[in-house]
């Protein structure tokens, strides 16, 4: 299957068999096709149930294999200091390639690095976003933020890219200022000022 089965069931990879079973039963209750009346919803529910069943079976059989190339690869850590410093040097090169917009070269180098640090996830996310693969990019940058929550650059990138504001409601730059409405507002303001505060410069409207 192409997705992480634990993610499909909404549980942690360290979850106990009881927790997994409970998550599975909850999912079955929530998405069972019999709950839906319309044919199209039934079809969607059937598809979802298929995913849930496959995920549960994969975990039960203990072969929770999924296509890691897609997006769900768990982070790998290394305690080898020399590998880590070598990786830092290469990642600096990757930053340079990204800066020069050589995204294919940057991706190629990143794919050859086995040590996946927060920086690796961040740079891979930037590369994927530049390729237009936003879902992948979001996953990678989120992973970088999770691994290194104190890093302001990762957090800001995530905020700016994926949690940014949506377009404004009235995004028409040619929205006209209505002169009639403006005139009414000016008259109303003048009348209020005149009525409430006669000392505000004299009684302009003598009848009130």
């Amino acid at each position: 299957m192409s997705q992480n089965p634990y993610k499909v069931l909404g549980v942690e990879e360290t979850a106990s068999p009881e927790e997994i079973k409970k998550a599975y039963t909850d999912m079955v209750k929530k998405y069972h096709p019999d709950r839906f009346k319309e044919d199209y919803m039934k079809e969607l529910a059937e598809q979802k149930m298929k995913e849930v069943n496959e995920a549960y079976d994969a975990i039960q059989k203990g072969n929770a294999y999924y296509d890691r190339s897609r997006s769900e690869e768990p982070p790998r850590y290394s305690t080898d200091r020399s590998a880590r410093s070598e990786s830092i040097g290469t990642l600096r090169d990757v930053r340079m390639y990204i800066h020069n917009r050589s995204f294919s070269k940057a991706r190629e180098i990143l794919q050859s690095i086995s040590l996946r640090t927060a920086e690796w996830y961040y740079l891979m996310g930037i590369v994927e976003v530049n390729y237009g693969n936003y879902d992948q990019g979001k996953y990678y940058i989120n992973q970088a933020v999770t691994m290194d929550p104190g890093n302001a650059e990762y957090r800001e990138a995530y905020q700016q890219l994926f949690a940014g504001t949506i377009f404004s409601h009235n995004a028409n730059p040619y929205r006209q200022h209505d002169p009639a409405q403006a005139c009414c507002q000016v008259c109303l303001a003048a009348w209020c000022l005149d009525a409430c505060c006669e000392c505000g410069g004299g009684d302009f409207i003598t009848c009130c």
Binding site: K30, G132, N133
Partner: protein, 294 residues
């Protein structure tokens, strides 16, 4: 076909260049393919022609003519050129691709669409056939993904982006132009954007008509678990707005890299890139919310 890439109505501009390109393409289509096919002209193609002429540095030569739709008031028409003719053929090749896709997908108007497609192919020349091959190959790949009920919006929109980039390269080569690298990438991202915004625009209709739309499968949990369909549409709209925003920012940044080459034409193209695109995103993303409030 889509109609997202056109200038906004403005009291300050009349967009003569854009309108002149549209009218020129319309007249070229009439002379090459016949009167009814004028209805198949898209705003996107007028934008495409404008961009190509800008890159070529074509002289701005406009004449005023009447036509069937404007019999009394003369309209601005750009001068005919080989580039405009190539764009007209390309528009028809895309229309043929859309017609055959609709024939495969929908029962409605199938005989009419078949007649239209057959007539179009009977009048086709070598240029049309070359473009048509590219278009039908891309539609075939898209149909394969659609058949597999793929939920990866990025993957499926990438196919459309690649199609647009390939067509752009083909037309550029035909008119003896070597496009700058950012321009190719720009057309790729623009293709993605058109696919994504169209998918979001059609979401409700596709769901009702039980047609394939990648967003239905991408957000099946939202559709199944929301209290009402309106709430689900609203949630999908706000999530997809992020993708649309990223795509439009991407389009703008690529555009800035070759904008200086566009000369006089850049005034109207700027308007489409920096105003029309964000406004279209806002309109489509908020479509569901506005409807609910009404």
């Amino acid at each position: 076909m889509y109609g997202y890439l056109r200038p906004l109505k403005s009291p300050h501009h009349d967009y003569t260049l854009f309108r002149a390109h549209y009218c020129c393409l319309c007249k070229t289509i009439q002379s090459e393919y016949g009167l009814p096919f004028r209805a198949g002209l898209s705003y996107e193609m007028a934008f495409f022609a404008l961009l190509l002429n800008a890159l070529q540095g074509a002289d701005v030569s406009i004449r005023r003519e009447t036509c069937l739709i404007h019999p009394f008031r003369k309209q601005a028409v750009f001068k005919s050129s080989p580039t405009m003719s190539l764009c007209a053929h390309l528009n028809m090749a895309l229309l043929a691709g859309k017609l055959s896709d609709d024939i495969a997908d929908e029962e409605r108007f199938r005989p009419v669409r078949r007649i239209g497609l057959r007539y179009l192919e009977s009048r086709a020349g070598n240029v049309f056939k070359g473009y048509s091959r590219l278009v039908s190959d891309a539609y075939e790949s898209i149909r394969l993904l659609e058949g597999g009920k793929v939920d990866d919006v990025d993957a499926i929109s990438a196919l459309f982006g690649e199609l647009l980039a390939a067509l752009f390269l083909e037309v550029s080569a035909g008119s003896g132009l070597e496009p700058p690298e950012p321009m190719i990438h720009f057309s790729r991202v623009l293709g993605r954007w058109v696919y994504c915004i169209d998918a979001l625009d059609d979401l409700q209709n596709d769901f009702r008509a039980k047609r394939y739309n990648p967003l239905i499968y991408r957000y099946k949990e939202t559709l199944l678990s929301s209290d009402s369909l309106e709430k689900a549409y609203e949630s999908i709209g706000s999530q997809e707005a992020v993708r649309l925003r990223l795509l439009s920012e991407h389009i703008m940044s690529e555009y800035r890299l070759f904008r200086m080459r566009l000369g006089l034409y850049s005034v109207e193209i700027d308007d489409i890139i920096f105003r029309t695109i964000p406004c279209a995103c806002a309109r489509i993303a908020k479509k569901n919310v506005v409807k609910e409030k009404k």
